[in-house]
Symmetry: C2
Subunit: 361 residues, 2 copies
Amino acid sequence: MTEAVSRPTLEAVAARAGVSRATVSRVVNGGDGVREPLAERVRRAVEELGYVPNQAARSLVTRRHDAVAVVIAEPETKVFADPFFALQLRGISKELTAHDNQLVLLLTEGRADHVRVARYLAGGHVDGALVFSLHLDDPLPGLIQDAGVPTVFGGRPGWGEDTPAADPGVAYVDCDNRGGARAAVRHLLDLGRRRIAHITGPLDQTSAADRLDGYRDVMADVLGESDPRLVVESDFTPAGGERAMRELLDRCPDVDAVFAANDLTALGALRVLRESGRRVPDDVAVVGFDDMVPVTEQAEPPLTTVRQDIEEMGRLMARLLLQGLSDGRHRPRTLPGAPAVPGSPGTAVILPTTLIRRASA
Amino acid sequence: MTEAVSRPTLEAVAARAGVSRATVSRVVNGGDGVREPLAERVRRAVEELGYVPNQAARSLVTRRHDAVAVVIAEPETKVFADPFFALQLRGISKELTAHDNQLVLLLTEGRADHVRVARYLAGGHVDGALVFSLHLDDPLPGLIQDAGVPTVFGGRPGWGEDTPAADPGVAYVDCDNRGGARAAVRHLLDLGRRRIAHITGPLDQTSAADRLDGYRDVMADVLGESDPRLVVESDFTPAGGERAMRELLDRCPDVDAVFAANDLTALGALRVLRESGRRVPDDVAVVGFDDMVPVTEQAEPPLTTVRQDIEEMGRLMARLLLQGLSDGRHRPRTLPGAPAVPGSPGTAVILPTTLIRRASA
DNA sequence: TTGAAAGCGCTAACAC
DNA sequence: GTGTTAGCGCTTTCAA
């Protein structure tokens, strides 16, 4: 196996260049305030010795790591099966890289891992955390709060909502789930459909709950009330979409439209509809949510869906965090238990959604 | 935004418990050699203050991080689209977690990121690295070697092979790509097929090159020579598989079997065969590679394929690395440029493959 | 068994 | 401009 190598220190570089450690440090960190010939000598010494600063030592004094953790509260299998995460990560990755921060992805396979992750965060390996896919009863937010790491959430965190305990300082980025859902259902109504079903996501996630609310808003508005049998809970996966669609056809064979909580779910629903001999959109119209292009465009028929800019959400999460971090650097260090700084950068950012019409509705 | 919090130090805990820092340190790190009543006092103080050790400080002296980096030399989109990585990561993750090591996933979107990753590794954030999906001309292995971080590769690294410069100490885990490919092609021959095509992976990766070699071995053995038009290079993706299959049908409409370099490629090929009106396996038999169960079993028809235990490969990579690390700890520190320790734990581990017969061939 | 003290490699005041 | 020096928070001899 490639072996560990003992690396040269600042001291060694200083000796070789015939200067003090401080001077080397200055050159290594930008080099202003060092006369050129000296700086050049130092640079050569760095080069010759293959010097790389020891981050542990540096972090110990600067309290900075130039690294940000991304925590996804889902098992790997789901993380990797759902393009949603890939897109969000790409946005995050781009933004972090642009600001010379390293992305550290922490995977969690279950509850036990949450403790490990919290320890990692509290251990001061990173300057902040981006956390997403939270579920209602997740212990993670509490653990993270205890860890005292600046955090931005992806998707509105559901914990403590409407309670006085709700942390007003919590930052998150989300899309207009409820508004998007309304647009989808309104579109189906405009198409003349009346038996509009909804296959939800996991209702312990606010995104799924909000989309359900949007569905109900419009159904109640227009039809007065809605048949509860038209709503089936699912889990944002294609397989779940299949199961839910079967259930739906069983309960309400007269269903003439389906609003699926995300595109993957819609994919499963389309498959079952096809199997059952129903034509889309003629017999049953289908609308998804997300607009994950590779999925929606290759669906049969191409999927009408509610678009949200997932990559942009990721980018914004990262930006919000980095901004908060650099602001924080100019302020005195926060004490344990101190309230979040009021007026801290845009606590919640809600991105708009757009209905994208394709062939399925 | 959730704000940073200044954390209590060892010092604070010591003061609270009325003992020395050394004693607290002992208790925190296992606690042997401390009398029970004292230890208990310390534990209570730790609890009350919510003390978590500062890893930077600890690493500075121990030179350990209990963290391992996983580097995947592919753009995110590919990483997340291919279940292969998810499986391997799961194996790695399990093994690391079992040994209280944190997995740090470093994503690379392009060459520029390689330098960043190398810096990160050299900066001493992790004890070792697991690297996979290398391409022939990748600068990464060189950079990593310079970084002086113990590394285990996933898949045989292609660089320097057959040259005196080849590092004999390099550790890697792979499956028997060539043998597996031979089995696949032999199976197709046994089925009576003679116009057997091969859709390769990216040939700058050894796994793809080895599978092509295996294909050629058998074709040459049995048929004397093989029609070069029957080989099309592709890229391990379903879309690539589609393109390649179209090309193949165009060149050799009489093709009666396809050995695809992986399951995703086979999936694309199946789709095009269906479109072209050919029946599988009646007209054209198809064999894949990997046996990614969700893919192979849901393919139409279910895919005959060469199974490799991907999760196990991941687990082994991690085990090899951790073992090397703990061995290294008992030895004097390696000097820069020192050769890898000979007889270091099993330099190469090659896992066997099995042909899994399903409906497609 | 416990404590005192040295020092890991670095940055940041503060002198010069 | 450049060097000197005092820590950052922790582990680990070494003495007591």
